[in-house]
């Protein structure tokens, strides 16, 4: 049953990802990206990380994609012709990607990607949201604070960058 759901999510995710990079208009791309991100959230649920799935939906689908849509509106780009879409280095790029595809496939089936066991048992993993919460506020409190400051800086920086110089009124 799980497997069936995984294949559904995976196929939709890959298909929408391909649609993202082939769509003719940026608005379409953005909508396909939303679909793809939702599939990734579903994959997180399959991995028994409901917390991650929620974060994924809130931040990516809720915040990031809205930003993208705003940007699309501000930049006002319409549909593009096929020639406009492609970069001049497409041929070497595609060749490189093909080689990478083969190599990574070989790597994946060579059995070299293995996993050693970790500290948490199956039972402990069942309440992983609690463990993550604790770790975030104890062991990872410094990175957590730093990331929050980073977000604040990004917020202020984005506003400062986009704001136009206003003529000062006396």
């Amino acid at each position: 049953m799980e497997q069936v759901f995984f294949y559904i999510f995976a196929v939709v995710a890959v298909a929408s990802a391909i649609a993202v990079i082939t769509a003719r208009s940026a608005v379409h791309s953005a909508f396909f990206l939303v679909i793809c991100l939702l599939q990734v959230a579903a994959v997180f649920v399959l991995l028994r990380f409901p917390f991650l799935a929620a974060v994924q939906v809130f931040i990516y689908v809720g915040a990031v994609m809205v930003l993208f849509l705003f940007a699309v509106m501000v930049l006002d780009v319409g549909r593009e012709t096929f020639g406009e879409r492609l970069h001049s280095q497409s041929i070497p790029a595609v060749l490189t990607l093909a080689v990478l595809f083969v190599m990574m496939g070989l790597l994946m089936f060579s059995g070299k990607v293995t996993v050693p066991g970790g500290p948490y048992s199956e039972a402990a993993l069942a309440r992983n949201t609690e463990i993550i919460g604790r770790a975030l506020y104890t062991k990872y409190i410094y990175p957590f604070e730093v990331v929050s400051v980073l977000l604040l800086i990004a917020l202020i920086g984005a506003v400062a960058l986009v704001m136009r110089e206003r003529v000062k009124v006396k």
Partner: protein
């Protein structure tokens, strides 16, 4: 209280942050208050740490305080942690104490400057990095401070960046320091690499010093040399001394704090901190001492003929730093640190005094236009003369005790040449300092009438620090007087730090025989002896008194000679061949050589700077030629032949240097084609990198 040692660097950092963020929004008073207050509190904490440390038994006076884990990479961990031991306590006392006085002085000196808040922000930031340097308990924290003080020095030298000479001087200081830092970091790499071969992946001082004897002496020698290159850059020793005199373009309190009292002594501190390494390789120690004493003499001779009041002091600083290196080089670490401390007092005092003079003279720095200032500014001139007496090594001023200890240690260690050169330099020091005193404060005032009208004593916010520093310049030597009851207090205080070197050397003996190591053992025994301090002094005291007399006599002769040549009442008595202009005329070649600082800057220009510039210019023309050749197909063949004949010419005429340049150039001609400026070309190269990694994983 020792647990709160992290407050000491934190306070200046907070001061720097507040002043830096709010500098343009804040009244000057608030900026000055924040700067001074953060330093004052840091100084009080340092004093309380000293008190706590003195309450501990001598064997336990080394406490490591870990604040947080900085870097984790596998089994390799680096903490932000502080080492509180006698050496670092002494250093933080000097840094925060002298730093506090200089901050207070700056409030007066920089009063009219528009960059007041920026200035205090930089100054506090500097103190923060300096404290990290001296307090760090591992090499990386030390390196953090080491680079940070370099940055702040650059910022403060170029503080008046609209003046081209100032921004050039800042760049010069930065680049020259970089050469030294390169050696320093290579030293760290070698140290880490060789130690990890023995299963020790740590850069903490304790672990490194406890295991350094496992290493091959040649490797240790290499590490010592590389670290010393760093010290040469930071402490302005020959051949990297050229930046310090130019650094005088910065505000005078900056020269006092960074380029006299604290930052430039970081090299001495570093060598002393690494006494365990240096005492393993006496040959490197000898080299350190020789370079030190050579620099001392070289800089002193240049100082004889300079006319800029701050440049004389700058060369004097280079010279005194040479003394300190001579001391740590011969294994007399305590003497070196002692001189570092007293030097911080009297050289800080001299610089602040010269700042007061410059302030009064409406920013005039040429001593030929000064004179007779004693009647206008009594406090400044009195304190300045105290400082000059201290640096000239007159008893009972502090400089006498420390300088004499260096000379005595080098004599006792059998380094007679170093002793002799040091003695001669002491004579030169006394001479040029009193030449400066007489030219500035006595005789007729040679300033123009406009400046004369504005002559005034500085406000009390500037004179009070002068008086306090003068007090310490007089009595600062008390802690190191060898023949008081119980011997030198400083020796006892510092011996746990430097006794370690002897123990390491002794351990080296037990770990492996061999001639080199036997030599190490001899040196180790010598250090153990000098660390024992008082006992050794008793036996040699009569000889020591004679040598003291000799060095005082050298200083007195210097002062007397200076007074004959530059002090008006004595000039009348002097024979005519002692007139400065007569001497300058007779030895005009020597005078020109000295006046132009042995042409070191010019030599560097000719050997390093200009070839690089020429390389750049030539590569430009080369690039243009090649690209035009490709573009203009019609002209291509003509250009090609012209290019070949041109190339032939250059190869035949300019030879090896240019052929090397050609290779570099040709190479860069290819590689610059890669800089297409297209973002996605770069991204493609990333992907190629990933591909390489995947292939590597597939193979391995």
């Amino acid at each position: 209280m020792i647990d709160y040692v992290w407050l000491i660097p934190l306070l200046p950092m907070m001061g720097a942050a507040v002043n830096g963020v709010l500098c343009s929004r804040m009244p000057k008073k608030a900026a000055g208050l924040i700067g001074c207050l953060s330093m004052g509190i840091a100084f009080l904490i340092s004093v309380s740490i000293l008190v706590k440390l003195l309450g501990l038994a001598p064997g336990e006076r080394s406490v490591e305080i870990t604040v947080f884990r900085w870097i984790t990479s596998g089994s390799f961990n680096i903490d932000i942690s502080f080492l509180v031991d006698p050496l670092s306590t002494l250093m933080i006392l000097v840094v925060t104490g002298v730093g506090f006085l200089i901050h207070v002085y700056s409030v007066g000196y920089m009063h009219h400057d528009s960059g007041f808040g920026r200035y205090f922000s930089y100054l506090n930031l500097f103190v923060f990095f300096m404290l990290m340097l001296v307090l760090g308990s591992n090499y990386l924290v030390m390196f953090l401070g080491w680079e940070g003080v370099g940055l702040c020095s650059y910022l403060l030298i170029g503080f008046w960046y609209h003046k081209k000479s100032a921004s050039d001087a800042g760049k010069k200081a930065f680049v020259v320091n970089r050469i030294g830092d390169f050696g320093f970091i290579l030293g760290l790499f070698v140290l880490f690499w060789s130690l990890s071969g023995h299963g020790i992946s740590s850069l903490g001082f304790k672990e490194v010093f406890a295991n350094i004897h496992h290493l091959n002496p040649n490797i240790v020698g290499l590490i010592a040399v590389l670290l010393f290159i760093g010290a040469v850059g930071k402490s302005a020793q020959f051949p990297l001394h050229v930046w310090l005199p130019d650094a005088m373009e910065g505000p005078t309190p900056v020269s006092a704090l960074i380029h006299a009292a604290t930052m430039v002594t970081a090299g001495v501190y570093m060598v002393a901190r690494n006494s365990a390494i240096y005492s393993m390789v006496p040959a490197v120690g000898e080299a350190v001492a020789v370079i030190g004493i050579f620099t001392a003499c070289l800089a002193a001779t240049i100082g004889l003929v300079q006319n800029d009041i701050k440049r004389v002091l700058a060369y004097s600083t280079v010279s005194q730093l040479g003394y300190m290196f001579a001391a740590v080089g011969v294994g007399a670490y305590t003497a070196g640190i002692f001189h570092l401390m007293t030097h911080a007092f009297f050289k800080g005092l001299l610089f602040l005094g010269s700042g007061s003079v410059i302030h009064a003279m409406s920013d005039e720095q040429d001593m030929r236009k000064m004179g007779g200032l004693h009647s206008h500014m009594k406090i400044t001139s009195t304190t300045f003369i105290i400082g000059a007496l201290a640096i000239a090594g007159m008893p009972p001023f502090s400089g006498f005790w420390s300088k004499d200890e260096i000379l005595w240690e080098s004599f006792r260690g059998g380094h007679y040449l170093i002793w002799a050169v040091g003695l001669f330099t002491a004579f030169l020091t006394a001479f040029y300092m009193f030449r400066q005193v007489f030219m500035t404060f006595t005789g007729e005032c040679r300033a123009d009438s406009h400046t004369k009208e504005h002559l005034h004593e500085s406000p009390s916010v500037m004179t009070v620090p002068l008086i306090i520093l003068a007090f310490f310049a007089i009595v600062g030597g008390v802690v190191g007087i060898p023949f008081l009851a119980g011997g030198s207090k400083l020796h006892h205080f510092l011996s746990p730090v430097f006794g370690h070197g002897a123990a390491t050397a002794a351990a080296a003996v037990s770990h492996g025989p061999g001639e080199a190591i036997a030599a190490v053992a001899g040196e180790g025994a010598h250090i153990a002896e000098s660390a024992a301090g008082a006992a050794g002094y008793a036996a040699h005291s009569s000889l020591e008194f004679i040598l003291m007399g000799v060095s005082v006599a050298a200083g007195l002769i210097g002062i007397f000679l200076a007074s004959l040549m530059y002090y008006a009442p004595m000039r009348a008595l002097a024979p005519s061949f002692l007139r400065p202009e007569v001497i300058a005329g007779r030895f005009s070649a020597l005078h020109t050589l000295l006046y132009n600082k042995y042409y070191v800057d010019e030599i560097y220009d000719a050997v390093v700077v200009n070839p690089v510039k020429r390389l750049c210019a030539w590569s430009l023309s080369f690039d243009l030629g090649i690209i035009d050749g490709i573009v203009n197909n019609t002209a291509w063949s003509t250009r090609l032949t012209a290019w070949f004949s041109h190339k032939f010419d250059i190869y035949m005429v300019d030879g090896l240097v240019n052929s090397l340049a050609t290779a570099v150039n040709f190479n860069s001609g290819i590689w610059r084609r890669l800089q297409t400026g297209y973002l996605q070309n770069y991204a493609l190269i990333f992907v190629l990198g990933i591909l390489a990694l995947v292939v590597r994983a597939l193979m391995g």
